[in-house]
Amino acid sequence: MAVQKQESALFHRPQALEPVRMHYCPGCTHGIVHRLVAEVMDELELAERAVGVAPVGCAVFAYNYFTCDMIEAAHGRAPAVATGVKRVRPDLFTFTYQGDGDLASIGIAETIHAAARAENISIVFINNAVYGMTGGQMAPTTLPGMVTSTTPYGREAKAAGNPIRVCELLAALDGPAYLARVAVTDPRRVRESKQGIRKAFQAQLKGLGFALVEVLSTCPTRWGMRPQDALDWLEEHMVPYYPLREFVVSEDLRGST
C-alpha cells in the first residue's frame, strides 16, 4: 500500500514576528508571549494598522521583533505614549508591552490613569517579580521573602514594602473593559494566555476601552534557576499570590473569541 507522503508545516513563525534572533535569555518566557501577541495580530489582521509601544526593561528591544510599526517609550510612559497615538489616530490599533518595574513602579500613574480614562488601548503586562535588564533588583511585584539583588535578605514588607497586585488594583476602577491574569507555565495555560491577549485586543477593536492582560512569567537568569525549576517555582509561589482569573470582562466582550 502506497502511503502518500505530503509534507505540510503545522507550526509557522507568525507573520507579525520578524525573522530575527531574539536577545532573551534561555528559558525566558518573553519569547512565548511575543509569539502569542504576534499570533493574535495575525488572526485579527492587525499588523498593518498596529502601533506597538515597547517599554524600558528586558522587552526594550521588542520594537525589533514585531513587523508592525513600533515606538520605544521612556521608562513607564508607554500608556501615555499609546494614549497620544490612539487619540490622534483612533483608526490605528495600539498596544503596549511592559514589564513589572515599568508598568507597576515608575509607570503606575500612567497605568492607573489610562485605565481610569477607559483609554482604548491594550496592554500586555509581563510580571516576573524581578528587574531583569538592570541585574535582578526588587520589583513592585517581588514576593514577600523573595531574594533579589536589592533585597539580599529577602523582601521584608516593613523595609521594602508589599507587592502590588495590578489587576486587583485596576479592577477597582470603572474604566477597564478587560482585565485578566494568566500564566505561561504549561501548554494549557499558554493557550489560555493567548485567549486573554485576544480578548484584550478585541476590547480595543470593539471600542470598549482599557484592556490589560497580566502574564505571570519566569526569569530563570535573575531567579537563579533552571528554566523548568523556574516554571515550577512560578506555579508554587506566584500563582497562589497572584491568582489566575479574569477580573473584568465587559458585557460586550462576552461570547467573543
Binding site: 498596529a50 510599526d69 513600533m70 515606538i71 501615555a80 494614549t83 497620544g84 487619540r87 489616530r89 500613574a109
Partner: protein
Amino acid sequence: MRPSTETISSSSEGANAGAESDTAVAVPRGTRILMRGNEALAQAAIDAGCRAFFGYPITPQNQVPDYFARHMPKVGGVFLQAESEVAAINMVYGAAAAGARVMTASSSPGISLKQEGISYLAQSELPCVIVNIMRGGSGLGNIAPAQADYFQSVKGGGHGDYRTLVLAPWSVQELYGLTREAFEMADRYRNPVLVVGDALLGQMMEPIVVPEEVVDPASLPRKRWATDGAKGRHRNIVNSLYIKASDLEEVNLRINARYEEAAKREVRVAEERLEDAEFALVAYGTAARVAVTATEEAREEGLRVGLLRPISLYPFPAGEIASLADRVKAILVAELSLGQFVEDVRLAVAGRCPVHLLGRSGGVVITPREVVEALRRLVDETRG
C-alpha cells in the same frame, strides 16, 4: 465653581458667539482685536493646523488648556488633560510619532517635569511645540514673570546631547506669530521647538490682528517616518535607543547638522534705535519691553542708546551681537534672572566691549528707571 453642565462661553468668545466654523474657530480675522497672550498662542496652534493638545494645569498658563478645551472639539481636535506633566509630554511623544502636529504648554516647574520627555522627543527626532510661560523660581517659586529658565531652555534642559529650538516673543502679536512659526520649524528640523513667554506676556491682553489664512491639517504632507500603520511599506520604528556608541554618535551628528542648518536660517533679531547708538541694551521678551521704554527715556536724557532684541534664543544671534559689540562702547544686558542670558551675550561679544548685567530675580520685573540708571553708571564707567 461652575456647577452647570451647560456650555459656558468665555469672555473672549462673547464678542463673536455663534461665529464657529470648521477650521477658523470663533475669532475675528484681519482686524484688530483684544486678546490675551495665552489665548492668542493657543489660537495660533489651531491656525497652524495643530489638532492635539495634552497638558496639565499650572499657573500662569491656565488659559492655554482652557482655550483648547473649549475650541479643539469645534475643529475635530484632541484636548486631553493628562494626569501629570510627565504623562502629557509622553502623550505628545506618541501623537508626534503618529505624525500629528501636537503641542503642550506649561510653566517653569511643569517644564522641569517634561524634560525627560523632551530629551526623548529630540533623540527620536520628533517634532512638537512646547510653550513655557515662565514664572519665578527655583522650586515652587511664585507665579510672577521671570526669565530664569533660560539655561534650561537653550542648553538642552534634559539629559543628553541635544538642543531645543527656542523662540522668545515680546508681545501678544508675536506670541501668535511665533507659535505658528514654531510648528513649521518643528517639522522642518524634526525637533521640539520651545516658545518661551512669561506670566506677564501670557496674562496680558493686547490688540492683535489674527490673519485670515490658516493651515488645513489635511493639506500637510504625510510624514514618511511616522508610526501610523505599516500598510504597503516596511515598519517604521520611533526610537531613542542605540546600543552601539558609533550608531548613537551618527544619529547625534545628523541631528546636530540640523541645528547648524537652523543657525544659518532661523536666527531672528529686532533692533530699536541702534543706527547711531554709542551704548546698546540687549534683552529679550518682557525685559526687552522694559528696555525699549528705557531706551526712549535715556535718549530724552541725551544718551545715545539702542536695543538689540534676540527673538530666536536658540539658534542664538551670536553674529549680530558680535558685530554690535564692534560698533558700541559697552553693552547692558537686562534680564529677569540673576545672569543666564548674559553668559551667551558675553560669549558672543568675546571681549570686544564691556558687558554689564542688570538682572532681577524671583518674579521682580525690572523698571525702565532702573535700566536708565544702570545705563548711566555704564556710561560713567566707560568714560571714567
